[in-house]
């Protein structure tokens, strides 16, 4: 690294002091010999156990995610049932007063259109994700 300015030279010197390499522990080679002497079959078993452990964790995580998604879907379904019913309950008197006998069918048609629009938007979003 070609330091040119005084601050760069000072930084270079300071980094050389601050970033000291780690030294090899005294027992490094003894441990290495022990590692090499280990039975390959034992090593394979240990690796299998590690992989199985990771797989179990992954499955548990997936199960948790599925449960959360299920709860989310249940919540959305409940909201989807109750929200239109409450809206209808609130709007029906006004619609009947404004449109007479046509009030109820008009609300039903309006609700269907809104529902179809939402479904269309959701489907198009899903397709975009797939693409």
């Amino acid at each position: 690294m070609n330091a040119s300015t005084p601050s760069e030279l000072a930084l270079d010197a300071a980094l050389a002091r601050a970033l000291r390499p780690p030294t090899l522990p005294a027992d490094f080679h003894a441990r290495l010999r022990a590692g090499i002497a280990r039975d390959p079959e034992e090593l394979r078993r240990e690796q299998c156990q590690n992989v199985e452990g990771e797989w179990r964790e992954l499955r548990a995580e997936l199960r948790r995610s599925r449960l959360q998604m299920g709860l989310g879907a249940l919540g959305a379904l409940t909201a989807a049932i109750w929200a239109p019913a409450s809206t209808l309950h609130a709007v029906m008197p006004w619609a009947e007063a404004a449109f007479g006998e046509l009030g109820a069918p008009l609300l039903a048609v309006g609700g269907t259109i809104v529902g179809l629009c939402l479904a269309g938007a959701a489907a198009s979003g899903r397709w975009r994700l797939v693409e």
Partner: protein, 196 residues
């Protein structure tokens, strides 16, 4: 700086032993020669001395197990460093996968990477700032000083061209000076500990 010829020549004895089928003797030389370098490389990657030591051990065990199948198509050193890098990257991705960052942890790490200048000595302060550099700059800079300022060695350890190493070093140094200035440590004597 050592040039390519010297680096190749360095492992000539090991290659001769391998050709002669003396794998155990070849590995002894590899372990003696490469253990400190692998420890430094792994430490630069993972920044944890104990983990780095385990990774250096793992690398050498893998080298031992694969030594008979070494095909001489690449340099011995490049092959060994590639194994080490793969071990380090796997360890880092495993650690990220098993320790998802919660908000509190993220904040804690952010705090760690913005060192309190008053709480550390000059070297510790500087190391803290190095930690805040982008990964490639941090890695190049750390290895550069670990490897006694040899750009060629850093390039070989990371399997990148020397010009790229020089770019990372220059950018890292510029970024460090800027961050030190931002932290009110523009004066060199604030981050150089005269006692060391």
């Amino acid at each position: 700086l050592r040039d390519e010829a010297e680096l190749t020549e360095e492992d000539a004895d090991v290659l001769a032993l391998l050709h002669a089928g003396a794998h155990a003797a070849a590995f002894d030389r590899i372990a003696t020669r490469y253990a400190p370098r692998l420890l430094r490389l792994c430490h630069a990657f993972v920044r944890d001395p104990a983990v780095a030591e385990d990774l250096a051990q793992e690398t050498l065990v893998r080298v031992w197990r694969a030594l008979a199948s070494f095909d001489h198509r690449s340099k011995l050193s490049s092959w060994i460093y590639a194994i080490a890098r793969n071990r380090c990257l796997s360890a880092i991705s495993r650690r990220r996968a098993t320790e998802p960052l919660t908000d509190e942890m993220g904040e804690a790490i952010a705090d760690e990477s913005s060192p309190d200048p008053a709480a550390l000595d000059a070297a510790g302060r500087l190391r803290g700032f190095v930690e805040t550099l982008p990964e490639r700059q941090r890695l190049a800079l750390t290895l550069y000083y670990y490897e006694e300022c040899s750009v060629a060695d850093v390039a070989e350890r990371l399997a990148i061209p020397e010009a790229t190493v020089k770019t990372h070093l220059a950018r890292g140094r510029t970024a460090l000076l800027a961050r030190l200035a931002d932290a009110g440590l523009a004066e060199a004597n604030l981050w150089i500990d005269p006692s060391r």
